[in-house]
Amino acid sequence: MSEILSDLPVTDLLPPGRHGRADGAPGVIAHPLSRLAVATLVACKGAVPRITEAALAAFGVALADAPKVSFTADIAFIGTGPGRWLVTASQAPEALMARLTDAFGDGAALTDQSDANLMLDLYGPAVGETLAKLVPVDLDPSVFRPGDAAATLVALMPLTFWQLNDSPAYRFAIPRSFAPAFLRALASAAASAGLEMAGPARG
């Protein structure tokens, strides 16, 4: 088991390095993204068709009003509720907000959330068995596939995650104040497989 959890202050983030099973390749790799701009986009009442058209015109994105990821090479829209999306892009937060404001104008409420979440990619051969202990959503490939997203609870913590590819890799948006607790839960769930906590990296 991961010894570090007995000494790590509960308010501290899990430090980079190997946790849990130490031999062999890590079963799970956790990769924080430090330079990903994030915003919420909430369509005004009755404005979803307008927002959908604007997303196509401005970004070339076929925006789905569903728990799906609609994306191009440089921007992704993750459905979190009817008429609501989390938007991510690898650029400065101000630049993303400017693009979104230009595209959607007064048809939507836009809020910069770049500092609000720990964005974390999870992958590795044991990511499935690890997430089975954490996520109350069926991640079997017959049910949950690349491009699927879910707003749900992990260990009573509200968060949003989505599947990036079929390796499989998943991206988690964890409310920042819950990040230490989430990482402790992750370290425990992945202890039997070995967790490699990577240092902050470019988003």
């Binding site: 569903a66 728990p67 979190t80 509720g81 009817p82 609501r84 109350p136 959503v137 879910a150 707003a151 749900t152 609870l153 509200p158």
Partner: protein
Amino acid sequence: MRLPCPYCGVRDAHEFSYLGDAAPRRPDPAAPDAADAFHDYVYLRDNPAGAIRELWYHGAGCRRWIVVDRDTRTHAIAGATFASGSASGDAS
């Protein structure tokens, strides 16, 4: 028990908050029998052995109110729809 959220898909009932019967409608407070009508609206509920339509809030998911058709004898769920505009005027 799992509930079929119209947006999120099938989710565990623990992700939802339960409100109750979706049938009661808020009475007109200006009507002459308003006091009696509000008594019934606030306190009186049917307790059917069988089909019921009830309000649940998906607080851990899409944060929308939904109306669920449930059989109280078997917990069989016949379906679910968004509440706004259908069951409860102030639910959305």
